[in-house]
């Protein structure tokens, strides 16, 4: 039985990036050509891959009896799924598919990294089974997923902004939602991400202080997460006080995405697992 489950997990590791890549290509054809087979295929391809992804994570949870965000690979995979689900929700709600190419491409990149880094059995430590850990990680990954979505909309905002400012009317012009809508989506996602990340940081500090009093301050993962949190806090504060407008906020959302990727990859790869210093 375990053999069959492992075979499924290995197959899904391969199929998920392929599925997301196919969906991204379909959304790309839809964006650039605007019609044809891509119109019928894009959403079913993404929905099908997301369904496989949900199954994969459920099987992973049952297989190792722990929340599937213990390794970098698993965390990236959960973020990828969360972004895919958020995009599907946006598409369903707004009947709007022009942003699919960009967000699904991000999903593909995250899942590709997850599959490339995966394969090893996750470590089994007692803390991974606690509800506090699951809440902390869930909130952190929800926050990261929201920030990825914000970065996607931020990128599109900047492209359309440049088009409209320069009067060059490139491929983006006329195919995207209005600038105001992109800005609203971006700031909405930033707000959701910030609230989630604040919760994750709060829970994490509370848990770390109780378990490893004083030691957690030396964990680079925590330090980088706090730095990322501070970056978003400053961006949202400046926006709130009207010192920043859409363009600066969009740039901050892209910088935030870079910080998240650095935090997830560079810092974690120095260690074998999350919070390896602890």
């Amino acid at each position: 039985m375990a053999g069959a489950v492992d075979a499924f997990l290995a197959a899904a590791d391969l199929l998920l990036p392929i599925g997301y890549l196919s969906a991204a290509i379909a959304y790309g054809v839809l964006f650039f050509a605007g019609h044809g087979l891509a119109r019928r295929l894009s959403t079913p391809l993404l929905s099908g891959t997301a369904a496989l992804h949900v199954t994969y994570l459920v099987v992973l949870t049952l297989r190792y009896r722990q929340f599937p965000a213990v390794t970098v690979s698993q965390a990236l995979s959960v973020v990828a799924l969360a972004v895919a689900l958020v995009y599907l929700l946006v598409e369903w709600h707004g009947r709007e598919r022009s942003t699919g190419l960009w967000l699904v491409s991000l999903v593909f990149v995250f899942q590709l990294l997850a599959s490339l880094l995966g394969g090893e059995a996750p470590p089994d430590r007692e803390i991974f089974h606690s509800a506090l850990f699951a809440s902390h990680v869930s909130l952190a990954l929800l926050g990261y997923a929201a920030f990825v979505v914000a970065a996607g909309y931020g990128f599109l905002f900047l492209e359309l902004y440049r088009d409209l400012k320069a009067g060059r009317f490139s491929t983006f012009y006329g195919k995207l939602p209005p600038l105001e809508v992109l800005e609203r989506m971006m700031t909405g996602a930033l707000a959701v991400g910030f609230v989630a990340l604040t919760g994750a940081v709060g829970l994490g500090v509370f848990w770390a202080e109780r378990t490893f009093p004083g030691r957690w301050l030396g964990d680079p993962k925590i330090l980088f997460t706090l730095a990322t949190w501070a970056l978003y806090a400053v961006a949202l504060l400046l926006r709130r006080t009207r010192r920043w407008r859409g363009r600066q906020t969009a740039l901050a959302s892209l910088a935030g995405l870079a910080a998240i990727l650095f935090s997830l990859l560079a810092v974690n790869l120095l260690f074998s697992e999350f919070h390896g210093a602890l």
């Binding site: 409209l164 009067g167 995207l176 407008r245």
Partner: protein, 462 residues
């Protein structure tokens, strides 16, 4: 009346070796005749003379129908074209002469002599109407108004009883072609006029035009065009600032709901505006970078679309460098319009495909009116009913009577259909009145249309 020669540039497609094979041959298309002129052949002054207001159009159609030579007629009259589509009762030459004498020569005697008329026949005439409805023949490719004008032409012809089976069906097919072209392709998308280009830019920035304040500087023709486009597309808060109050007031009278104010109040008005369009010919910039900076500091931090259509320019170029201000000039709008036109041109092959599909549908409908296939389908349908009813009833009769019942019902059906079949075969499809009758027979017996390739519905006679 002597039969006049048709213009030499209009050869009969049935005899024209360049025409698509078999297109108009063999009763595949009704003997339609189109006579018209458009912006390519006639200057505006001439087009104005042969343009028909609705009332005059009604009179014209009634006069045409009173002629022995015309069975059905329809008139499409717009500022860019006047076209008459007629179904001749028999020979097309008297019909051509009737149209010329009634519609064109009384208003523009030189029009034929100067070669400003075009004539199309049969499938070419039908194809032309479908292309017109799809926007392919318009001065501005894909412009949307023509579809409404085709529908109005249909309504007008119906109202005076000038349509028959052929023109009614053709006008319906034309409207459907126009609808499909706009729904399935991008032939009508993107702004191709200055006024609409402003709307398009605004729609790329703001999610809801009705929530955006609009300030228009100037009250001339350009301002009028911009205001009309903005109001038509949902703008609700429009202010017009002009140096002369009288001109602004006239504009406000044309468009109730818009507010007028003196030009000096423009910077104050900017506090509530998301779109500002400058259209004056003022010698100095009306919106300076310092003035704008001060005005922007007083307003909500929303984007501002500034469009400078003035000559010389009304807005200082440096305004475009202010954060969240999108400044566009006539030149950038022209870039946008040319880009949209290029995209529309790229859609032409797809629209032509739709035209051909709809033309084939019309042709299939018409082929279904030929007497022989119609008789065959009538007999096949009757035979199917006979077999079905007989099968249902046989159980109630002794087996030895079944053969007799079969013979009896077969004979009944044959005798009932004998007279109508003979009458149908004795008439010639393609002549005005006959088409109407054949279509009626088909409607009455619910016989449907022939297959596109022309082979369907002819077999299986009783």
């Amino acid at each position: 009346m002597t039969a006049a020669a048709l213009p030499t540039d209009v050869s009969d497609p049935r005899r024209d070796p360049a025409a698509p094979p078999g297109e108009a041959a063999g009763g595949r298309f009704p003997p339609l005749l189109l006579i018209g002129t458009d912006f390519r052949l006639s200057p505006l002054a001439l087009r104005e003379r042969v343009a028909y207001e609705p009332e005059a159009a009604e009179d014209l159609l009634v006069s045409l129908l009173a002629r022995e030579s015309v069975a059905e007629a329809s008139l499409l009259s717009t500022c860019n074209r006047t076209e008459l589509y007629v179904l001749p009762r028999r020979d097309e030459r008297p019909a051509y002469r009737s149209v010329l004498d009634t519609a064109f020569l009384p208003r523009a005697p030189e029009i034929e002599r100067e070669g400003r008329l075009y004539v199309r026949r049969d499938a070419e005439a039908g194809r032309h109407l479908l292309r017109v409805a799809a926007g392919l023949e318009s001065m501005v490719l894909g412009e949307p108004e023509i579809l409404g004008q085709v529908r109005q032409a249909h309504e007008l012809a119906e109202a005076v009883g000038a349509t028959g089976a052929v023109t009614r069906r053709l006008l319906r097919v034309a409207a459907e072609t126009g609808r499909r072209a706009r729904a399935e392709t991008a032939i009508s998308t993107g702004a191709v006029s200055l006024g609409y280009a402003v709307v398009e830019l605004a729609r790329n920035i703001f999610s809801d035009l009705s929530q955006a304040g609009v300030l228009v500087l100037g009250a001339g023709e350009t301002a009028r065009q911009v205001v009309r486009n903005l109001l038509d597309r949902g703008a609700r808060r429009v202010q017009v600032a002009n140096r002369g109050a009288e001109r602004a007031r006239r504009l406000a009278e044309e468009h109730p709901g818009i507010e007028t104010l003196p030009l000096e109040a423009r910077y104050e008005a900017l506090a509530a505006a998301e779109v500002v369009v400058a259209t004056t010919s003022a010698g100095e910039p009306l919106l300076t970078v310092d003035g704008m900076r001060a005005a922007l500091a007083r307003r909500r931090p929303r984007p501002l679309l500034a469009v400078d259509l003035g000559v010389p320019r009304n807005v200082e170029e440096a305004v475009g460098r202010l954060a969240n201000v999108f400044l566009h000039s006539i030149d950038s709008l022209d870039v946008l319009i040319q880009r949209n036109l290029r995209r529309r041109r790229e859609e032409v092959p797809r629209v032509e495909e739709i035209v051909e599909q709809e033309l084939a549908r019309f042709s299939a409908w018409y082929r279904g009116l030929a007497a022989e296939p119609l008789v065959a389908r009538l007999q096949k349908q009757a035979e199917e009913v006979r077999r079905r009813e007989l099968a249902a009833a046989l159980g109630r009769f002794p087996p030895e009577t079944h053969d007799d019942l079969d013979r009896l019902t077969r004979s009944l059906v044959r005798k009932i259909l004998h007279h109508p079949s003979t009458r149908l075969r004795g008439r010639r499809a393609g002549e005005g009145d006959e088409i109407e009758r054949l279509d009626l027979v088909r409607e009455l017996f619910h016989l449907g249309e022939e297959d596109d390739e022309g082979g369907g519905g002819t077999g299986g006679g009783a």
